[in-house]
Structures are given as structure tokens and as C-alpha cells.
Symmetry: C2
Subunit: 254 residues, 2 copies
Amino acid sequence: MQNQKRIRLRIAYDGTNYCGWQVQPNGITIEEVVNRAIQKLTGEETHVLGASRTDSGVHALGNVAVFDTRSSIPSDRFAYALNQRLPADIVVAESDEVPLDWHPRYQNCTKTYEYHIINSRTVIPTKRLTNYFVSFPLDERRMQEAAAYLIGEHDFASFCNIRTNVVDTVRTIYDLQVIRSGDEITIRISGNGFLYNMVRIIAGTLIRVGRGFYDPEKVKTMLEAKKRTQDGVTAPAHGLMLIQIAYEEEKRKN
Amino acid sequence: MQNQKRIRLRIAYDGTNYCGWQVQPNGITIEEVVNRAIQKLTGEETHVLGASRTDSGVHALGNVAVFDTRSSIPSDRFAYALNQRLPADIVVAESDEVPLDWHPRYQNCTKTYEYHIINSRTVIPTKRLTNYFVSFPLDERRMQEAAAYLIGEHDFASFCNIRTNVVDTVRTIYDLQVIRSGDEITIRISGNGFLYNMVRIIAGTLIRVGRGFYDPEKVKTMLEAKKRTQDGVTAPAHGLMLIQIAYEEEKRKN
């Protein structure tokens, strides 16, 4: 019998067919499918601990999860072995060993998300599940102007789903860029953590600014209000992708 | 009762969930779903005529189809009205009226296809249904060198599925580019027409060249052989997208 070790996985997925990350009674989740694949591989009852509990329809390039095992499989081979047992829409990109007390949520880290918009009158069917199609013209310079107010340490209470009861709503956004390339607009945001729905509320609010419904200064007013008002519109889940979680001890590359 | 008129549709679709364009007994096809949407809209029994009978899994931005109707709906409103009756993976991008004898296959036109490759060791799940993932390194300069032999009027008998009985295998390729952007390689090809599986066989052959299995000159030898040998490997359907069909009288933009 091997000693127990903790394996960390970097997991990419297409969230379309899942009810989000976290196990729940109403439908199949990514966490559940990953648990099952590990159990099939090791024969051990397993419950992974995930870094980010992404919502239904949200995608990931680099979510992180850990689990403990006594399996003799080398740590870096778990990625390959699990991919043989996972469906095509969930891929383990890498695996390594971490200390037994390493927890993916209780570590300083930088999380990076992208929100993908296609600003076009016509929907491209192959992109419908990974982009939010906005048919009215968006001014990305106004969006970037508004985004600038959000960078830094702020109380983001106004940019948080009201159905959450987290006490501390202060977070730090390190960077927030609105990048247009033809019809495609990408909102790229990095921070030390995000409140429930925070990225989608920021995206939805910036879209209102881009459309001309809100002035860029509206974002500043919302920040200062520190209230979970409903001024910030939540953009749909399927445009969102968790790009990377970089832990401080290492700053792994994407 | 209105006079009969012929409506032309430009149709975009995600081919993932369909057995290709053409009606067939073994599964649901795009043609069939479009027929049903038109029938629901006009109340008339309808059979569209498609320009390109794309294979199962192949996608389109601009396939073209026509149908005849006595409906009083303005020609350019069919796009909107049909989209209300189509599933999300099939979209009519535009509609207009053409002469009653206009046939989408018996017209001089330029067809443009793209074949999408991601050259990476790790599969990105959200891109798995629209890109062919190639894990070994591809040299796109070698691929472009090989591609140059194919441009112009040639007998493409060696680049044709053996299960076809077309007599004339001469076609003209106007342009063929291999474009790399980071991990993404796009093979973009325009011509006056393509034999069955021709674009996928060209893509599969260029991938062999890019990998180093074939010299670029191999493509020249294959062309000269004018035989349906199996040297050309058929790349998988899901990497292929029909971008545009530009008819000579108008050269509609994408």
C-alpha cells in the first residue's frame, strides 16, 4: 500500500452539457464526472476539492481540483490516465503532486476569466455556446473607460448576486481589458478572487455602457453605492470562461 | 393567391448534431429541418435545393438553398421568420428573391472553405467540435509550399473519394493559403467547385506534409498520378467549414 498523496489537476471543460461544477441533485455536474473517472482509475472512493465552482454553462481552460489517493500511478500520469476515462468535453490538462494540506481555495492566487462577446447582427451557430451574441453596436472604448474604474481594491458589493451571504465583499482586480478584434470583443479580467456572479455582472454592466445605456461613470457610482442593487445586469453564463488560476508559490503558466 | 416566386437562403449551421445536409433515412439532416421550418411558416409542402451537400459534422457559414413559394411574405423577411422556427444550430443569415429558373448548383460560382486545425498537445474542450486537434508539430511553411502545387486548373482525381462516379475530375483552385496564428492553423481554399471529400483530402495530405511524413513535392506527384489512390488521407469532417458561395452575377460578400 502506497502512502497517501495529494494530486492536483488542471481541468478544462466545455460547460454546455453540465449543471456547473459542484455536485447537486438536479443534474450531472463536472465535479461528479471527475470523481467517477478517478474512482474508475484508482478503485478508491473519491471527492475532489475544486478551486472554482463555476456555474451551469460556464467553460474552463484551467480550473483546479485536488484529491487524495494511495494509488501507485505517478503523479504526472494521472492526466493521461483520467482522460481515457473522461468524456470528450472534460480534459485534464496536467496533474502534479502537492502537499497533503494544500487546498485549492485557501491559497493566494490570481484568477483570470474571459467573457466572450460577438458583436454582430447574425449569429454564427458554431460559436453560439461559447460567445454572447450582441446585435446592437458596442463601443469598446467606452467599455474600457468604464472598466478602468474597477481596477484596484474595491468593495464590490454592488457587483454581486443578491443570493449570496459572503461577509467580506472587498476584492482586488489586477487587470481588466476590453479587447476588440473585428466582431469579437473579449473582456479579460484578473483578480485575487471574485464574488458570486461578479464577472458576469461586470460584463453585463460594461455591455450596457458599450451600448450607450449607461455612462462610463455609472460604474464608479455603482462601486460607491456598495449595495447589491440590480443596476448591474448579469451577462449570460455561456460567454464566460475561467482561463487560469495562478497560485502564488508558483504562478503556473496557462 | 400570390404568384410563385423563388427564394434564396444563405444558411449557417453547426453540423455537429446532423447527418449532413442531404435528406437520408438514417438520421436527421439540415435540409430536412429547413424544409420543415418553411412548411410551418408557409403551410406549403417544400423541398429546398441546396448548393452544397455537406457531410455529417461539417459546418457552414454560407451554404445556399432555394425554394419556391406563393407566400406573401416579403423575400427579405424569410430569414427572420424562419429563424423563429429553426433550432439554434441552424440560422438563415439572409434571404432574397431570384429568378424561377435560378439553380444553386448550375451557376458559375466561387466556393470558399476553411479547414481548422489546432496544433497543440492539449485539447481545448470548447473547440473540439469545430477544430481538428493535431498534437505533433506541424510546419506550416512546408504545408504552404505543398499547397502552391494545387493552385490552378488541375485534374484532381487523386484528391477525390473513391466512392464517387463523377466523370470530369478537373477543377480550378483559385487560392489556397495555410495561415498560422499561434496554435491555430487555417487552411483556406477557394475554387470553382470541389470533388467529393476533396477539401478534406487536401487538408489531410497537407497535414502529412506539415508533419514531415510527405515532402511538399509529394502533392505534385499525386496530382500527376490522376488516380484515386489512398495516399491522400481524409481529414476529419468536424474541422471543415463552408465559408461562402459567391455567384458570378453578384459576388455577394460574406
